[in-house]
Every structure is written in structure tokens, then in C-alpha cells.
Amino acid sequence: MPEIKVDDSKCKGCYICIEACPKKCIEISKEFSKSGYYPVKYTGTDCIGCQQCARICPDLAIEVYK
């Protein structure tokens, strides 16, 4: 199954990946990152590996695996 991994040290919490995801499988984490943002995280289901989130992420924080 495809999945995404978010690098918490790079994510600045702009959440445009959440908007870009066609399956809505990215959510806001409840824990602070070291830089003081609420990073995004993968909900754990439904990822189809389309890479739209990774294409729109300005901070290259998302890695897509298949």
C-alpha cells in the first residue's frame, strides 16, 4: 500500500497538502514539532500514492512511498 512520511523537522504547518490531497488522508498532528509548529501526519489509510501533496509542499517535507 502506498504511504507518505512527513519530516517533522521540515514541516512548517502550512497545511496546503491537506487541501491538495484528493483522498483527504493527511491530518494535523496533535503534537508540537521541535520548531514549534503542528506538523501534518498521515491518517494511515487511503493513500493512493498520487504525490499531489509532495508536489505542492514548499518545504520538501513529504516523502511518498509505494
Binding site: K10, K12, C14, Y37, Q51, A54, R55, V64, Y65, K66
Partner: protein
Amino acid sequence: MQLLNKRPESLVDMKMHYCPGCSHGIIHRLVAEVMDELDIRNRTIGIAPVGCSVFADKYFNCDMIQGPHGRGPAIATGLKRTTPGAIVFSYQGDGDLASIGMAEIVHTAIRSENITVIYVNNAIYGMTGGQMAPTTLIGQKATTCPHGRDAKLTGDPIKMSEMLATIEGAKYIERTSVHTAPNVIKTKNAIKKAFENQINNGGFSMVEILSTCPTNWKLDPVKSLKYVNDNMTKVFPLGVYKDSKGGE
């Protein structure tokens, strides 16, 4: 598990200083991906502007020069003429290119210097704190026009792509945007075409990219993308403005 989106080699693996949601990161990545795909990293020289992307030299893993405000195309001219084998690109914002650097960009296009210009248009001065830029939309608020830009007082936004497309020496001019994933792909193709134009000695090429500035627009990153779609693309229509086949 196979990694589908490998970080481009032409981009140094470090956290960028840009604000959350700023499009500079996307555009940096696209330029780096194109450098990787065309395998030109070892002979590319980039010129970082004055503006938010002043630290672009830290992020691109190729030779870089940081130029004075607006003078990117002038430096690129000298570089390209003295080292014709190098691939030279100038990365500039709208305050840099459309305001103080207006003379340089126009004359570089008129001479049809064989360089590529990446023009990031976010309709505001970002680094200096959100002043009105030549590209600020009518009615858009900025710190130097708190009631919105008034055309009677300050004129209309400058449309660089349309202007430069009238110049004979400009060979490839396209305006794209990065507000959705499909547009990001289109932008990458445009950047690739601009670099290929230079590799084929085609002459002056420029890609204008509509970008966001959530901090100074005082909008959140998602609303900023919507603002680009709803407002900016109306004033700055996307598309190819010039594509003449030059080269030897």
C-alpha cells in the same frame, strides 16, 4: 517500499528559511529538478536576487552569485558572454525584476542574451515588510497603500510577460502558477523548456511564476492559493506569450 519523490540532488538537504506556505520552496524544487533531469548541475551558475530569495545560494547545489538589487540579468549577461559553456539562470522576484531591475531585464531581452530568467511574481515586496510592488493588484492592500492600490494614484500593475513578449529578442516567455499540483507540473515543464531553449542557444527565455506571500497578504496559506486562483490569474492570465524557435 520504493521512494517515489526523491529530493533533487541540485537542492541542498536543509530546512529553508521561507515562511509557512511561501511558494519559493516549490519553485526552488522545480528548478532543481529540471537541473537534475537535464544533467546540467555541474555547469550551471545561478544568480540569487535581493528579496526573500536572497539566500537561494545556500539552497541550490550549483555555483551561485548573489547580485545587487535588480541587476541579475546584467550579471548573467557578463557571465554568459565570458563563459559560454555555462548554463546561467537568474532567479528574481517582482520587486527585483519589475521595479528596480526594469532597465536590466528589458535590455537583456532586447540583446537576446542566451540566459534563463525565473521571475517569481507575488505582487508585493515580501522581505522588506509588505510594501506595494509594481505588480500589486488594484485594490490590494499593502503597508504603503493601506486602503488598497488606487490606479489613479499609482497606475496599473505591470505585466512583464506581455511587455517582454513584444520584444524581438525575447524567445520564450510563459506565465504559470503554482497554486495547485497540476499547475506545479505545468510550471516545471515551462522551466524545463526555458532551460532547453538556453541549451539550444535559443536566446532569452523567461518564466513568470505567480506565487503566494501569506505573511504579507495577511491570509493563511490555503486562502493565499485561492487568492492566486481568484484574483491574480484574472490580472495576470496564464499561458505562453512567446515561443519562437531560435537557435543554431
